[in-house]
């Protein structure tokens, strides 16, 4: 394993020190990343989850997006304690929305935290966009992956405008309901603790339907060109929720794939979207919801409407997503 790190056990802590030093707009306290200037009288947004997905979530703390993020150890949900602290610490009197990716660990720790908080109105939205997982009685439900960026951005814009908690929660859930994702890995990631790749993938194969924690996917196919791989992702997403009208599209890198390749994938995705009579109204191409050093990409699509696009376009100022100010 070759990583820029001091020790496996200090990776998250060291990165948080770096974030605090790099971004005067953030404050790191007790393992929680807060906006340096808390907003008042508006609904606050708190998210969190295992680390290793940077910039998610801490990189999305700031104006127009999250109020606090609770990063756990690598791929390990945070415990309830920091979630409780973040919830109490960000409440500006209008309540707090927990944005929770659908993993057993995240769900349970946020749930326990919600029970432990007193005197703060808390609502919760579950993000479960990954079409690679069948949403059935026989699974823990769909994983939360790329759509988290859509939910955090759009709900954040609405909260910034002063919408009440129930409304922010409703729109957040609506964004999730309109969003689907699918991931493809060229390589496994390597966690600092394990020190070797989580799964073995022969040089001529790709793993389809991967999650963001190095979980193996649902199947393997021979390594194919960007067009073929983009088509697999497009069909998986479109097959679950057909493309229609204006789409918010993200081609997301898994952490080890350079931008030049992601743009190549996006070119193919955009052509397929047009071919299906829909339109890429807004897009993101880059590393947003990563899986450590994994090479690969995921496609996330949200069937937006004018109001969601308006909220998407609203100013945001975070280390990971910034425009309009």
């Amino acid at each position: 394993m070759k990583k820029l790190m001091n020790e496996a056990g200090s990776v998250v802590e060291d990165a948080l020190r770096g974030m605090a030093a790099a971004h005067p707009s953030l404050r790191v306290e007790g393992g929680v990343v807060y906006r340096a200037e808390a907003k008042r009288g508006r609904v606050a947004l708190v998210s969190g989850g295992g680390s290793g997905h940077e910039p998610l979530h801490a990189g999305f703390v700031g104006f127009g997006m999250l109020d606090a993020a609770c990063p756990g150890e690598i791929f390990t949900s945070p415990t309830p304690d920091p979630i409780v602290a973040a919830t109490i610490g960000t409440d500006g009197g209008a309540g707090v929305l927990h944005i929770v990716k659908n993993y057993t660990g995240d769900v349970l720790n946020f749930e326990l935290a919600g029970e432990m908080v007193e005197g703060v109105e808390v609502a919760s939205v579950l993000v479960d966009d990954d079409v690679a997982v069948l949403d059935s009685l026989y699974t823990a439900g769909r994983r939360g992956t790329g759509a988290t960026v859509f939910v955090e951005k759009i709900a954040g814009a609405l909260a910034e405008e002063g919408a009440p908690l129930a409304e922010v929660a409703r729109v957040a859930a609506d964004v999730d309901a309109r969003s689907r994702s699918f991931g493809v890995a060229l390589t496994s990631c390597t966690t600092p603790a394990a020190g070797k790749p989580t799964f073995d993938l022969p040089g001529d194969q790709v793993e389809l339907g991967i999650g963001i924690h190095g979980e193996p996917g649902r199947s393997r196919v021979r390594l194919a060109g960007a067009r073929e791989l983009a088509e697999i992702a497009v069909e998986a997403v479109h097959g679950d929720l057909p493309f229609q009208d204006d789409l918010l599209v993200m081609v997301n890198g898994m952490g080890g794939t350079p931008l030049i390749e992601l743009y190549g994938v996006f070119a193919e995705v955009e052509a397929f979207v047009r071919g299906k009579g829909a339109r890429v109204a807004r897009s993101l191409v880059g590393n947003y919801v990563t899986s450590l050093d994994m090479q690969g990409f995921s496609l996330s699509v949200c069937r937006a409407d004018d109001e969601l696009l308006r909220l998407w376009d609203a100013p945001v100022s975070t280390p990971g997503l910034r425009w309009g100010r």
């Binding site: 295992g50 756990g72 150890e73 690598i74 791929f75 390990t76 949900s77 945070p78 415990t79 309830p80 304690d81 993993y103 057993t104 660990g105 349970l108 720790n109 749930e111 326990l112 690679a132 997982v133 069948l134 009685l137 026989y138 699974t139 823990a140 994983r143 966690t191 603790a193 394990a194 989580t198 799964f199 999650g211 924690h213 190095g214 979980e215 193996p216 649902r218």
Partner: protein, 207 residues
């Protein structure tokens, strides 16, 4: 035996030892059908348990404290689940500790897992080791076995339960994402549950 609290402290100290010793194995099991952190999670949690105070007036108080520490320090799925189990067991464990009382408290702990996790036997989780262990324990006590023998049977049942997860297709937790591909691998949480139950035998008789 000096005090029930001392026994409980000895149990979790032994758990800390065995999860550290088997860290790599647990992580490897989790790498196969999860996210390769189960070994690190439990090592971190039980290290926090033993480095903090495991003192307390009674075994029940110690176990509630252990549960709180696990909830506060582990994270992931296993933190709240094991944490709730230890808390529930501790709350249910009455003094003086008897065989019947111990088996009932253990069962309360196991039931807390299923309740929080909305999971049942056969879902390919820690429950597949914990539930057979709980039944074996209760059965042994009913048959009048002493603690040593009851723990031996519980450990055996947990191990067998963990091994029996291998062919199962997971319905809960991260492994469920794999669908049919989850079959053929032992569930990491079931494996760690077998270690935790196995550690009972090393801690000496609890009643």
């Amino acid at each position: 035996m000096a005090s029930s609290a001392g026994w409980a402290a000895a149990w979790v100290a032994e758990v800390a030892r065995v999860v550290t010793a088997d860290r790599e194995r647990l992580t490897a099991l989790d790498a196969a059908i999860g996210d390769a952190d189960h070994g690190a999670n439990l090592e971190r949690g039980f290290a926090a348990v033993t480095s903090g105070s495991t003192a307390g007036g009674t075994a029940g108080e110690v176990l509630v404290g252990v549960g709180n520490t696990l909830i506060s320090r582990v994270g992931g799925a296993s933190g709240p689940l094991y944490g709730s189990a230890f808390r529930a067991m501790g709350k249910a464990l009455e003094e003086p500790v008897t065989g019947t009382g111990f088996a009932a408290a253990f069962q309360a702990g196991v039931e807390a897992v299923g309740k929080l996790g909305r999971s049942a036997e056969g879902d390919k989780t820690m429950l597949d080791a914990l539930l057979p262990a709980s039944r074996a324990l209760a059965g042994a006590v009913r048959e009048g076995c002493d603690a040593r023998e009851a723990f031996r049977r519980a450990a055996e049942a947990a191990l067998a339960g963990a091994r029996a997860t291998i062919p199962l297709v997971a319905r809960k937790g991260r492994a469920s994402y794999l669908g049919a591909r989850s079959a053929g691998h032992e569930d990491p949480g079931a494996a760690s549950a077998a270690l935790i139950v196995g550690a009972l035998t090393a801690a000496g008789p609890a009643w």
